[in-house]
Amino acid sequence: MPQPEDRSDAYLAAREAALGWLTVNWDPQLSVRAWWARLADSGWGFPTWPEDWFGRGLSADAAAGVRSAFLEAGALPPPASLGQQLGAPMLLLHGNAEQKARFLPPLARGEESWCQFFSEPGSGSDLASAQTRAVLSEAGWTVDGQKVWTSGAQWADRGMLLARTNRDVPKHQGLSFFVIDVGQPGIDVRPLHQMNGEHGFNEVFFTGAHIDDDRIIGEAGDGWSAAVTVLMYERFMASLPTAMPGRKAGQLDEPAGAAVQRAAQARSSGRTGVSELVIDVAARLGESGDPVLRQRLAALWATETINGYLARGGLSDRESRRPSAHGSLTKLARSELVRAGRDTGLSVLGAQGLLQDPAVPGGSEIRHRALSSPGASIAGGTDEIQRGIVGERVLGLPKEPRTDRDVPFRDLTIGTQRQAP
């Protein structure tokens, strides 16, 4: 298929400038730590950050051009934990001068890895109903509660924590946002096992965990606005596979050249489109002549192909459609493709699909994708939440009446509680 060259001037200019710098400065002999330090000083590691803070003040579009330059140059991409991707933009908007000066340098240099303590067992789609509490005393803040779906908590040096500091006001007004040190006795990180057998996430228990008073972002009770910033950036998160930042992962002292090779492998694996995979397995099993299956295979191929057109071109030049809405649409499209790939893939496998390891090349990949499929329509905002966003923000449909906005948090029923405590 031809790839439409639909690149803006900003993209091309940034790509060329970054490529020029990388050609001169990329050195695979450097340690990861030294390379990232050099990158931080250049502003090319985080081109969307301001010039005063390790960046170049470029647009998201230009940053995509910079990413392509890293691939072209074969250089190790910048560190990319949630601290770099979400924490830094949040600090730049909501942090005070002291917090920026303290937290941004180690993030920019990849010396720290951060995670995000947002979701809770009782707060999935309704994040603002978080119950984990932080209580202020003379010694600082004390945190008790539970977070879940925290990816990277086992590697994280610090976490972004959304916690309730006031139960007597409506739920959005009683939240505060903190940066908390993960390696302390009051925090217990346990792997969370998913239905596909993997454990990419954790559940994290806070029992009298401590936060210094100067680690609150903004005022107590203003945490929701910083959380919204993080969520907004989460939708546009784009990064390349790279080495793991932070002290715990132990990759900072490796040669950058070895790290970039590992990253390139991570990029190439799992790259095959689902329709290519399923069509290939159907051919191996000699099923490509079945007229009913051909319909499903062609439909799967069509869905994946059209998703590609949508991702590249859809809505971009329509003034009423904002990029955030485009993100919701492509996410919904992706969920649908994942479901279709699961069902067609397992139908192709037939009886082989009953097995843990189907005896056909590609069979295990189909099984694994099938068992991972529900994640696509849940993680990062469920399909139902995305449809709400599309309906209300793009189509301008009236909002659902709400009953939880004007009552004190303590009077609400949260999660599967039988009644408010």
Partner: protein, 372 residues
Amino acid sequence: MTTLGATAEQEELRDSVRRFLADRAPLTRVRELMETEDGTDKGVWEQAGSQLGLQGIAIPEEYGGAGFTFAEQAIVLEELGAALYGGPFLASAVLAATALLASSDEAARRDLLPAIASGETIATLAFTEDNGSWDPSTTRLFAAKTGDGWRLDGHKSFVLDGGSAGLILVLGVADGGLSLFAVGAGSAGLTRTVLPTLDQTRKLARLEFDGVTARLIGSVGDAAAIMDRVLDTAAIALAAEQLGGAQRAFDMAVEYSKVRHQFGRPIGSFQALKHRMADMLLEVESLRSAVNYAAAAVAEGAEEVPIIASLVKAYASETFFHVAAENIQIHGGIGFTWEHDAHLYFKRAKSSELFLGDATYHRERLASRIEL
């Protein structure tokens, strides 16, 4: 590949076509015309040709057209589809014009295309027969060489605007293979019967040929290749129309759900409807991306056109009908009435789905074309 975004000129074209249709061919007029045999307002057709140059937009200037590409024609088709325009644009400016352009017959192009480009001649392409197959290889109409010409015997059916066209391009089997012929509507031995249609804005006819004198277009046996190109181009053209119809029907549903109140709320505030409309937007936007991509591919003569044609026709068929049916459901009882316009889109969606082959047909073609 050129950029997928529309240029300022293309947006201007879209606006002027939309304004023209809103002014001269609103749905109230569509309703009047759909009760007539030819479904066409002659004045509007002539103005579209002489003032806006729509019929000839994708015909090269040397043949009297405006010399734009299929990308611009697709924009016109999208607007025509949105307005449920019932005139013979698809038949004349797409099916017939593409057949002539795809043939090797320079003389026929020079003779016939200028009048098609100006709208003076309404042309169509008669290729389907009573068996209802969209596959040209099933053609039975027989062409025999006479002294200095050809005579056609047999029939054609499901011929788009076959009752009103002045020039009919006919697919026939000669000794030597599938061949294309031109026949004047007034030819002796030609009997035309207008067929009542499910979608009254789409006019179809059955044609009987009893020793009709015809002109060979191109050479004997070259029509299979011509038809390949015509059917791929027409599938994408129809998909562009379907996109226009789908967008318009969808907009109707969204607008109505904002003003219709039940249980003390606008019905669009209920998730049962809101989420369905979000899904419909995803379908319509996906179709838009696919049509834009396909139109650019035709404009550039890309090798992948046969693949994209079936891809986009299958998707457009399902999307337009789904949206048109949901539009009625969201309107409730009023949407089921004759007075409401929702049923016009429902019928057009169904007729467009079936014409040139439905989604199942095109998915099978797609499967073959991606060498499945």
